[in-house]
């Protein structure tokens, strides 16, 4: 084969690959856009002042979803408060301190496996461990602890990965200035890794916000007349509300349920987009 025909062949293959991968990427985007547009289309009509400011009436067919939004905010707030410190510290240990031995490998394997456990199993575990054994009862704290177990692997892994991305050079520079390892980590390494850690945390928490199974047995309720008033209070939550409406309310109000879904999706999206924006600002400053 002459050189020019081989070049031509390579160019054709290149062009084909570009078209095929492009088409696939585009169809994925199309599906995502369709889902989003469908939710907005169905739910946008429900969004008015009443929807955000009132409690549900007539088993959810009327009224608003105020306690449901508040319940989810409390739940995710508590989950974040538990997950972030534990997850970041564990990630720091694994990336910065853990010796390379059997125990460390076992810990890492356990974390990987934790990430693969189905969420309903976490629900069952939460019921046994936090609701019954620890005696928290069905409550925000029991549900948050359950979601924490589910979210931890994501945050730990994200933290460890983010810390490993930080060049060794930087640690060396700090140590050579007389900083201790601890100071090096919290003054140099962690701030530099923050974008990656926060991305991971938001991914994990976004998933937690949308989960029904882990909160099903641990504290979510179908109907509450008042807002939750503390960590041991039961609560309503967005995903569970959708589930309960569709499965146990005859003639459920389509618009209100889609509106609830829209609130959930929009909330998660807004936080993700804000995180992505913040990260890109950081990235522009930080390039290795």
């Amino acid at each position: 084969m002459s050189r020019s025909s081989r070049t031509k062949q390579a160019r054709t293959a290149e062009a084909t690959a570009k078209v095929v991968t492009g088409a696939i990427a585009l169809s994925v985007v199309a599906v995502a856009v369709f889902v989003f547009v469908y939710i907005v289309y169905n739910g946008i009509g429900a969004l008015d002042w009443t929807f955000f400011s009132e409690v549900p009436r007539d088993r959810g067919r009327e009224g608003g979803i105020l306690p449901i939004i508040v319940g989810t905010l409390y739940l995710i707030g508590a989950t974040a408060g538990l997950t972030l410190p534990i997850g970041v510290l564990a990630g720091v240990y694994l990336a910065e301190y853990a010796p390379r031995n059997f125990t460390t490998r076992a810990i890492r394997l356990a974390i990987t496996n934790m990430a693969g456990v189905p969420s309903i199993v976490y629900g069952l575990f939460g019921l046994a461990a936090f609701v019954l054994l620890a005696g928290f009862g069905r409550s925000i704290i029991a549900a948050a602890l359950t979601l924490t177990c589910m979210t931890l692997p994501v945050v730990i892994t994200a933290t460890e990965e983010a810390l490993r991305q930080i060049p060794q050079d930087l640690r060396q520079a700090s140590l050579a200035l007389g900083a201790t390892r601890l100071r090096t980590i919290y003054k140099v390494v962690l701030p530099a890794a923050a974008p990656g850690i926060i991305t991971g945390a938001i991914l994990g928490l976004a998933r937690a916000a949308g989960e029904t199974a882990p909160i099903l047995f641990t504290g979510a309720v179908f109907q509450m007349r008042r807002l939750p008033d503390g960590p041991s209070s039961q609560f309503m939550a967005l995903p569970y509300h959708i589930y309960a409406q569709v499965t146990s309310v005859p003639d459920w109000n389509r618009e209100l349920v889609w509106g609830t879904a829209l609130v959930l999706v929009a909330g998660v999206s807004i936080v993700s987009v804000m995180a992505a924006w913040w990260r890109s600002v950081q990235r522009r400053k930080v390039k290795w």
Partner: protein, 294 residues
């Protein structure tokens, strides 16, 4: 208490054994050595280093006089960086590194348990091969060391930052932009920032591991000028692969060589740079310097 350090003519050393004492605190040491005006001198006696079972350096003895530039030269892999890291105990951070022999800084043993590596590293700064500023502003970079030492007062930090940036010949270029992110500087400026950062802890010694090898000729020139200025106030130990650079900037030169991979590297010769480059005692030094191997 002052330990007696006897330096014989050929750079070898001996101790008045009875007076080798625990290292004094930084403040005491600083005061004592300022009085003696003999600040930042290193003495190495029979230093050896092994990574696990791989012995890479053996039997290195040398004297690094204060307020001067000492160049470490030798072929790649002969342990120059390794030896340099002994001087601020950065080898400790690698794990599984064994350092033998004695190293003293102004008479105080730096390898004993009594010497806190954290304290040592404030007295012995380091500049690395690749510029590695922290992802922070210029000001924060320079203030990092002093803050680590516990200095909190803004005015004091401002002063140190200015002084250090002047010392690294960067002040004029950045004085109006101290809040700029360090990564926005050019490579050469970043390296001078790293020198300023090292200066800010007021070290007696600065170790430089090929500080200009990643830089363009003009930036290299600026780094060399900076080094020439600095040696009035600090001791500099510099690793370089550039023979002209060693000849230009150093007062004495040490040539290390690992004759084969089975045996550790050793110090072939150390002498005044002028002598090393014109009339070395050892034939291997001459052939390395003239580029016949390495």
């Amino acid at each position: 208490m002052v330990s007696t350090l006897l330096v014989t003519g050929d750079g070898a050393l001996s101790y008045d054994a009875g007076s080798v004492t625990l290292p004094r605190t930084v403040a005491q040491e600083g005061a004592a050595s300022k009085a003696a005006d003999l600040q930042g001198s290193f003495s190495l006696a029979d230093v050896s280093v092994a990574y696990g079972r791989d012995r890479v350096i053996e039997g290195v003895s040398m004297y690094v006089p204060p307020r001067s530039v000492t160049a470490l030269i030798g072929p790649s892999g002969c342990g120059k960086s390794t030896l340099l890291r002994c001087l601020n105990r950065m080898n400790d951070e690698l794990g599984n590194v064994h350092v033998g022999g004695t190293i003293t800084l102004d008479g105080a043993d730096i390898m004993g348990r009594a010497m806190d590596p954290v304290e040592l590293r404030m007295r012995v700064g380091q500049v690395f091969q690749r510029p590695n500023p922290f992802p922070m502003t210029i000001w924060d970079n320079v203030a990092y060391g002093p803050r680590t030492q516990g200095i909190r007062k803004r005015s004091e930090l401002d002063e140190l930052v200015e002084e250090s940036l002047k010392g690294a010949a960067l002040w004029a270029e950045v004085k109006n932009n101290l809040k700029k992110h360090a990564f926005e500087l050019s490579g050469g400026q970043q390296q001078r920032l790293c020198i300023a950062r090292a200066l800010a802890t007021k070290p007696e010694v600065i170790l430089m591991d090929e500080p200009a090898s990643a830089l363009d000729p003009i930036s290299t020139q600026q780094i060399e000028d900076t080094i020439a200025q600095l040696k009035d106030s600090v001791t500099i130990v510099i690793v370089t692969h550039n023979m002209q650079q060693a000849a230009r900037i150093s007062d004495q030169t040490a040539f290390m060589l690992r004759e084969s991979l089975d045996e550790p590297a050793h110090l072939v010769e150390m002498d005044e740079t002028r002598k090393m480059f014109t009339n070395p005692d050892d034939a291997r030094t001459e052939s390395y310097i003239t580029g016949r191997f390495g």
